[in-house]
Symmetry: C2
DNA sequence: ACAAAAGTGTTTTGTCTACACCCATGT
DNA sequence: ACATGGGTGTAGACAAAACACTTTTGT
């Protein structure tokens, strides 16, 4: 027979979906696009698309990210895309998750600094940043039909978003990934506000400062200072080489 | 047009592969099966198979696990399968990972207590437990052709195995998953030997005892004692309800 | 002068480590 | 008696939380 018997397995469509997170105005936000076609036409969804025949999963994710946000695509072998971090999140493949056909979606998580307004691209009729809190609250609350802001996310995207947020919350605890939410040069206070937004807690600025500057490899001084946050000039830092934090940042109990 | 245009996306085969880990004779071991057909005929591989048209990913993993090990299949919604823990690990989809066709494999991680010799099932010509250390060492070392024990794993299974082992190593740090390697009732010393085997370190028995018995919800007394390890009778425990350990177990620096 | 944010010092409190020591069984 | 593993007590090292205090800017 030919290399393999195609009747031995059912054919699947494979897509990548993106959970793109950023921190804007002290709030954790996710990128959503408005669906232009059925099913879930007009509803908000996570950006994503089909994996092509000749590309790998991370490559497909990087391509979709570039198409949806204008972030330059970089070598997918390196997890940095113009300062953004890309990693695989999880795969969703319930038989009924797409009414059209059997689709397996490999979700990816992107952590990005506060970007300019996203560029609508490809098949998405519109793209915007939305507060994660709002997006997840919509799943259970009642809402007005036709309201531009409202409605639950399409498909199982609320579940995927929740998983991505949970991953981001735990990963910044024991890795230096929180710096992926910052501009290339940032202050300790800006980094603290990232933690506060992602975790939804208030942190003691004094202890936070001591902790992050005392963790070897987390931050390296960039040399300058800035007063863009007001008050006394703050030292600028860049992300250091360390990826794993030891000891980890401690998330307050709430 | 019909519900969806099949020419818009390339068809994929979707499989599940299993990293089944256990602790035997103070060593971390993985389940491997001998391949009965090309490619990689005669080589060891991770158990796995095609996802069927009507089952979800966790269901396919649970079915394959039952076929390969004889572990009774339970409700995939609950992560417990006869004392074993099942979770999704990661998805592997490089275009050339299978020479026959485009295959995306959703790897799952299973942590099981020390089982009787595995039952060969389905298309696998043989199944056995192999030391993780040996399996991963084979990837770089030279080996004798034709030796029953030798040869690197098929496909990208060494990478998948390494990822699964790394996941197990970090998860037992901050969750109570180490109990999934134990029989339903176990002693503190048996649990300690699980940590020692998975991490490849020696732990202080006195401090370990204080730590695990002092972490609320980790262990609940089962009521009896045993001398199966020799020495003074040890209290028997069951896994408690807690899944996240706070504070975590601390892995020694090396 | 005052508000605002950055940074430092100090005390208290808790946890990890290392190790001395005792307990209960099998041989 | 002794080896083996189970379990408790305790002193020192170390890190985190809480908070008083100083520094340096903008208005």
């Amino acid at each position: 027979m030919s290399p393999y018997d195609p009747s031995a397995f059912p054919p699947f469509a494979v897509t990548v979906d993106l959970v793109v997170l950023t921190v804007r105005r002290h709030e954790l936000c996710a990128l959503v696009v408005r669906r232009g076609e059925a099913p879930f036409q007009g509803r908000w969804a996570l950006p994503g698309g089909f994996v092509r025949a000749d590309e790998d999963l991370a490559g497909a994710a990087a391509r979709e990210l570039a198409e949806e946000t204008g972030l330059c695509a970089h070598d997918p072998a390196t997890p940095e895309l113009g300062g953004a971090h890309l990693e695989q999140l999880a795969t969703y493949g319930a038989p009924d998750r797409d009414p059209r056909m059997r689709v397996v979606s490999v979700a990816h998580l992107v952590l990005a600094p506060d970007l300019p307004a996203p560029r609508a691209g490809g098949d998405a009729h519109g793209a915007r940043w939305a507060s994660v809190k709002d997006l997840l609250a919509r799943e259970t609350e009642s809402f007005q039909e036709g309201d531009e802001q409202s409605g639950p996310l399409a498909f199982d995207h609320a579940r995927i978003l929740a998983d991505g947020v949970e991953r981001a919350r735990s990963k910044i605890e024991y890795s230096s990934l929180a710096t992926a939410f910052c501009t290339p040069e940032f202050t300790v206070g800006e980094l603290r506000r990232v933690y506060e937004a992602v975790w939804g807690v208030a942190l003691d600025p004094r202890n936070f400062h001591r902790k992050v500057t005392g963790t070897p490899g987390f931050l390296v001084p960039a040399g300058g200072t800035t007063t863009r946050q007001g008050g006394r000039p703050a030292q600028l830092f860049r992300a250091g080489g360390a990826t794993l934090l030891n000891p980890p940042m401690l998330r307050p109990e709430i």
